[in-house]
Symmetry: C2
Subunit: 351 residues, 2 copies
């Protein structure tokens, strides 16, 4: 019995050889096109993998919440952190300031109120943080709504102590997004405001980022693991899926149904267009058609033979980022016998 | 500023006065109808609340995984634990045996293989666990498929050392389930096998459990918190929703859209038929129409006035059990100023 097969189930495993290959491939793409790669920490929340990404050439790390940045700084990763999220409230401003005294940090935000509050907190301690104007280039989430709004906010930021305007960010980069960003950049430069960075994001479509002609940086995270959604979208191969969940068939009540000990508290409830909650590697014709909290409900009618009671099977989840977030630890491995555990440091309510 | 309003966001809060009221109401229902109440731990994963349920009259606690039972025993709750889940594999059998040496424990399962494996492990250490035959009375998850199958498994269990046949369990109890269970019970009694317990489960429909005429026990958990699904189903009032998530409006990019710092990693991605991911108490006309991992996307077009940038709002999530599971801690409170933190002990990959 290998160390991997001795793991209790359900348990998430991460193949470090595959992770390294994925990191190298995305870095090669960015290098070939003169794009800076910023590693998105939210995808794995493991400082060890962030260090691998930095060693391979990433310019820095992107965080989606302050708690992630605090975990990274606590783990000694203090170089060029971007918190790509609007930080509001006095306590968050104080926490950002604390981080800014320990290393280079920047924020992305879309409002004057956030800029003024952060500026006041940073300036009071003589600290400085970079500032990227968050632009809504079509996704419809956060972000200023027009290039002129981006210029207005950037001009304010250049006047505020404690903040340094660095450029623009968006997520993802939809088809019309490049024109939006070019217009904003040109307006800014016409005003004499230097745009060091135009940052786009998202693993789907990542390898077309160079076509925009305007992005200087790519924020990506999911690519280190890959997942079933990536396979469905055509940009991930099964062999590149580094994150898998080992699970046991705990019940085979009928010929067509099997139940595994991986439900929505193990795989996350992220669905897919085809109604399948995960790819069972050993039984690719199986369909995980429903998740209870601790049960995966599987249609095995197309499997010959079907999974046996007690069999351990391996699931590639639909959404790797959401899956990792559910677990206290993952099993990092190289091959089947070199296995060790890593705490998913930044998960849970890191406040 | 109250202690509650001083909490960082996003953060889940639990109103203990409301929890007590919910516990008392469900206990009154069970007492009135001669049903034993078994508190389902998966809903809250907080030993403190399990103790409140036991003090109010619950006969024991139900767990959905071994790790939950281990946390309870570690916290000193050792009375009458039921692990309502098929435990397969040598390590799980050993862990169950360890629990059985520390307190009264029972399992629910649906296969001869599980019964034999657990029996061997328990008997080898002179330990005993109760055994409930898990019955599929129409839900289509785990469980034996026919009353005759229940009798066959029960008869085997009575022959196996280390196990003591206690009765039947099902989840939930669909309309045809009562007839199924009565048939199984009658067959068992005709064989001379005593059926101490017929256990049904699920908060939706809980207060109709007595109509079955066959259930002796009700396994319920969600009722301590309530949630937006319960409101939609008509069995929960907003005032009874003890679990809420405090979240901040971090962006108001357009008049019709607001973004809060509670996404699928905070609220869980459990949807609802009306496409709304949660009820915003202060703005009941708002619709959380989409969740990114750290963003809640809100349509505020029907709100007059809309939520303001920086405003802290309170969300009743769709699914309380899934929400608690995402957080390392909750803030237990009575009123707005008596606030303390409790670790969600059994969440994450408790193996």
């Amino acid at each position: 019995m290998s160390a991997l097969s001795a793991l209790e189930t359900p348990f998430p495993t991460v193949d470090l050889d595959t992770v390294e290959r994925n990191i190298a491939a995305m870095q090669r793409y960015c290098d070939a096109h003169g794009l800076a790669l910023r590693a998105h920490f939210k995808a794995h929340k493991l400082p060890e993998i962030a260090r691998m990404q930095l060693a391979a050439g990433a310019v820095g790390v992107c965080c989606q919440k302050l708690g992630e940045a605090e975990v990274l700084v606590g783990a000694g990763v203090v170089t060029d952190l971007l918190i790509a999220y609007p930080l509001i409230g006095g306590r968050k401003a104080a926490r950002l300031t604390e981080l800014a005294t320990q290393g280079a940090v920047a924020v992305g935000a879309d409002s004057e109120a956030v800029a003024r509050e952060l500026s006041a907190a940073l300036a009071a301690r003589g600290a400085t943080a970079g500032f990227l104007v968050d632009c809504d280039t079509g996704f419809g989430r956060t972000g200023v709504q027009a290039p002129e709004d981006a210029v207005r906010l950037a001009a304010l930021v250049t006047e505020l102590p404690g903040l340094r305007f660095r450029g623009l960010m968006t997520h993802p980069t939809p088809p019309g997004g490049a024109a939006w960003l070019r217009a904003a950049r040109d307006l800014l430069e016409a005003r004499g405001l230097a745009v060091e960075c135009v940052s786009g994001g998202g693993t789907p479509g990542a390898t077309r980022a160079h076509e925009s002609g305007v992005l200087t940086e790519l924020r990506v995270g999911n690519y280190v693991f890959g997942d079933r959604r990536g396979i469905a979208a055509g940009h991930v191969h099964l062999d590149d899926c580094a994150l898998r969940v080992r699970t046991t068939v705990v019940s085979t009540p009928t010929r067509s149904r099997a139940i595994v000990d991986a439900g929505s508290k193990t795989l996350a409830g992220d669905g897919a267009a085809d109604g399948n909650y995960g790819l069972i590697v050993e039984h690719p014709d199986a369909v995980i058609y429903e998740l209870s909290e601790e049960h995966g409900h599987i249609d095995v009618s197309q499997c010959n033979p079907p999974p046996a009671l007690g069999e351990v099977v391996t699931i590639v989840p639909n959404h790797a980022c959401a899956t990792v977030n559910l677990h206290d630890a993952v099993a990092l491995h190289r091959g089947a016998d070199d296995v060790r555990f890593a705490r998913v440091a930044a998960r849970g309510a890191v406040r």
